[in-house]
Symmetry: C2
Subunit: 393 residues, 2 copies
Amino acid sequence: MTARSANVHQARLLRLLRDLGPQSRVALGDRVELSRSKLAVEIDRLLETGLVVQDGLAASRGGRRSHNVRIAPSLRFLGVDIGATSVDVAVTNGELEILGHLAEPLDVRVGPVAVFERVLAMVAKLRDAGLADHFDGAGIGVPGPVRFPEGVPVAPPIMPGWDGFPVREALSQELGCPVLVDNDVNLMALGEQQAGVARSVRDFLCIKIGTGIGCGIVVSGEVHRGVTGSAGDIGHIQVDPAGPPCACGNTGCLEAHFGGNALARDAVALAEAGRSVELASRLEAAGRLTAEDVSAAASAGDPVALDLIRQGGSRTGQVIASLVSFFNPGLVVIGGGLTGLGHTLLASIRTQVYRQSLPLATGNLPIVLGELGPVAGVVGATRLISDHLFSPA
Amino acid sequence: MTARSANVHQARLLRLLRDLGPQSRVALGDRVELSRSKLAVEIDRLLETGLVVQDGLAASRGGRRSHNVRIAPSLRFLGVDIGATSVDVAVTNGELEILGHLAEPLDVRVGPVAVFERVLAMVAKLRDAGLADHFDGAGIGVPGPVRFPEGVPVAPPIMPGWDGFPVREALSQELGCPVLVDNDVNLMALGEQQAGVARSVRDFLCIKIGTGIGCGIVVSGEVHRGVTGSAGDIGHIQVDPAGPPCACGNTGCLEAHFGGNALARDAVALAEAGRSVELASRLEAAGRLTAEDVSAAASAGDPVALDLIRQGGSRTGQVIASLVSFFNPGLVVIGGGLTGLGHTLLASIRTQVYRQSLPLATGNLPIVLGELGPVAGVVGATRLISDHLFSPA
């Protein structure tokens, strides 16, 4: 069963059925502007491939009742989203509805072999649960730049051991299906575009704030990856030449100010300096502090934790303001692990962007939290591979 | 004579002939992958429109000699590039070769009526010189954001009186031909793509440093204008919250630090403070100082003027470094009036970008001066309108 020989009409029909669910032939005909006979030919060919099946009679619109068609319910896509400190694996049907989803903490620095061992074990669990007996395609996200055509991570700053690892090739062999690999932030953007807050938006930015900070860039409906796959790498934009040193070797990068690592570092310093009783007691209890502790302390009303989030949001907003002036997007989506910091974070980002960018660029610019939360990446991963499979040959 | 009814093959052939000059039918056939008979049909239709003409026999490649075809030599495009303090008008043939070019100083703040009176007088001069008896299309650049589909400037900060002026409609009536209007920086980018340093580059940034500072963004070969036409408005990116006040109402914008106005302001201050004999004597002689004075003083070796240029280049480089991290372009082109400041400017921009952006984004990134100088905008303007006319209906 393959879609790789689809013509341009068939590819369009497959994507419509993926995104809209079961449709009558008449309704499809209205959307693709094909003659009735031409449409019938294309649908018959899709039925022959097994990618599309008949699905009962549609409601009458007068005259003979039209048959519904839909993506074959047996189609299965796999989405894998490898973050810096966690991995998400999901199985979807051909309409990209999640049938099962597993999430586990996992440090990407253990290297690709150990990570994929874990991923394959999670996949086996989902298979054993009866959710899939095969995969028609898989999308994989990794937290660093990717040479997209080859599906290989390049010079990933937070992923020692991954540089040049043939993720696409290795996973394709293990899974026995076509695989595409992309940066995790690009997949989050695709996920929000497929099923979240960016549906029908053609030009938007998706900022992921987690351990690191990155940006997915969608131009005219397509992800912009840049000439070496590093587009959106905004964590290393310098926000203050006199700022703290960054892991990349420079000083004052956005990630050196904010993101999970910086937040934990600052929280420990403030706790040890006796500035926050809340953070100090958490540090004593656990022996360390994470971004989640700052979030919890802020929720409990701790002013020092709230201040950390506001400062971080303000720094992030400063960078986003520049990007808004430069790119003039129709929407800015904020997602990633640190969105647990929620509306305090969003408010300080908004304040900074609306203050610094010109009114023409911000007049109708929504800045919103993503809708899909932790599954944005896996949904984006299945969108990526299904776009690839549902393309003209 | 019109191309607006061209099909996709004819449009492709017209652009090829525009960009490559006269071609044999055989050579064209190799490029468009049409069967010989299909190609003959399409070329015959183009010959009928008068947009394309026969042009003698091509050199033999064995067998029957093939006829050359070319864009009709009678085609005329008009390019108009309105800057903050000058206007350029040029006439090209259908291959976008400049047949005549006029440049005059003109302050855009006199308003659209006075500006277009001058532009039309310049056009009349070029007509009187026998360069054109008609125009097949015209492209117009203005130094501010443009609502592109309507061809209307919007909220242009340095262009009082232009907001909402129907440039496209007014000029189209005056000139009796199709007109498109765009931001001047986008046209500079298109010009360098058509005939300058960015030929064959699909993703690049073109930074224009003149009275203001702006950026043309080319993604997958197309200009990215943003949802409200303000993409590339980098002059108001904040580089230092404690910096000088900007005309836009914020503080520390790039344009408040650098660009023609800031440079003149700083030069006057330094001359009056007795820091530079060279600048002081120029100020005394002319009663004012411009960016050209700084350039001349720098060429004469004045360390204060050189330092001004270095500082400005460094500030500009700081912004470009962020954009490079974000956009991961294949090329950065520096153009505009202040490129008279030349290699001192380029060197400080490069230093800053290569220092601040990650190696993956800068490893193979050329940062170069534009090749077309003052005609980049008018060439881009004719490229814009010819792309429009040589499009499928």
